[in-house]
Symmetry: C2
Amino acid sequence: MNRTALINLIYSKKSFLCIGLDTDLAKIPPHLLKFDDPVFEFNKAIIDATHELAVAYKPNFAFYESNGTRGWNSLTKTIQYINTAYPEKLFTIADAKRGDIGNTSQQYARAMFDEASSGMSFDAVTVAPYMGEDSVKPFLAYPGKWIIVLALTSNKGAADFQFFANDNHRLFEQVLIKSRQWGTKENMMYVVGATQAVMLSDIRKVIPDHFLLIPGVGAQGGSLDEVAKYGLTHECGLIVNSSRNIIYASNGADFAEKAREEAMKMQQEMAKLLATPR
Amino acid sequence: MNRTALINLIYSKKSFLCIGLDTDLAKIPPHLLKFDDPVFEFNKAIIDATHELAVAYKPNFAFYESNGTRGWNSLTKTIQYINTAYPEKLFTIADAKRGDIGNTSQQYARAMFDEASSGMSFDAVTVAPYMGEDSVKPFLAYPGKWIIVLALTSNKGAADFQFFANDNHRLFEQVLIKSRQWGTKENMMYVVGATQAVMLSDIRKVIPDHFLLIPGVGAQGGSLDEVAKYGLTHECGLIVNSSRNIIYASNGADFAEKAREEAMKMQQEMAKLLATPR
């Protein structure tokens, strides 16, 4: 999905909500455990109940890999389901935090983007910047696909290295400054944690137009209003993720309905924010 | 496998060789393609031919993920085969470069270490440090398991951020200084590329005793003698990886035999280096 299509989707749905599919067998409603693939059944029900309210879905790879081959199969079925049931209607993010030397990142890119090879075709993948340009470039070789580079994350450990600074700037700013040359605002986004909302004005000075993927609203304590205040642009420029607050809103038979209610609360807040002139 | 057992293995085999299983369907001998699982057949033959010469194997996850669920299954069979056929005789490294917020790294740790959950039990996993302490700590909750933190990598892009410096030191040194407090030399190692051999003396000042995993000898241009000169300790302290030079030594029916010959060349060099007093 290209940038124009994504922006159109956001304004037509009046939403910049991404739903994080951090699907955990230990947390999904117990009545689903009777299915052959409870994780896929859960994801499908969540997606069907919320697809009009969200612009994006973000399966978190760790939650699938912890179930081994079976989990990888649930993941594959989930992305295939989204692409088949809602073509061009949803932006999909492989939240995998990959990055390695060039010949290896090439293989990761095939995993995320090349359906003929891996069975999976996401629109975007999250990448870790530590290994630099050649670890990220192979993902940019796929036309129409995106990378989402970790810049400033939502967790406590973000302070350990991301704020490491020389006289001019901090590491996360160095990441923005260097990496914005590797691609364009048409194929690169950045991860900035919602808990770092006040830093967004500094970040917008370096990358005024790039989309930002913002995790950390809800369970991790970030505020949507704060994020919008400092991060929203005239083309939106934000995708805000919520995982646990939505997908685990209920543990009963009504889990999908309750997830829809939580998603709608966020979508309605977002509609107001998008309607506010900037 | 604990540190003492690893050191004993190194001195009994007179080898600190790790063989990287970067197994690519496009590069393995064509006669294997008739098997149901050519990747596993290839890995099994390589391991059987070289297990006396290597102390470690390092499947590179990207090469399995690019084949989707099928690839993840080949990977699972490979680690299960090593653990079953050569128990306590080989150190196993999940080369996955993982790292995310705490609740997510917990799931990655289950994927790599918890066989009951994922079907896989590696001794160690490579982790990316960018997200800091809480992204790495969940992996250290498994007794007897190791993390191998990216410090200074072998690729060109290493220069983009790893050398970002304040008045006192560079980012890769900051990573060493901070992260060495998260665990001990009993459960942490570091990745240092062979192409960075001259930096090893600086690195040894910060972490004199930790094991280092050294990729980049061979195809990437690093020299084993240089690495040993600056990095070897009185307890060895090194695991040197070679992938392409060994596993793709031949593309014919003799691939495993040729891999053994290449592995033996490296093992013999290593035996000499280990016998040199330090």
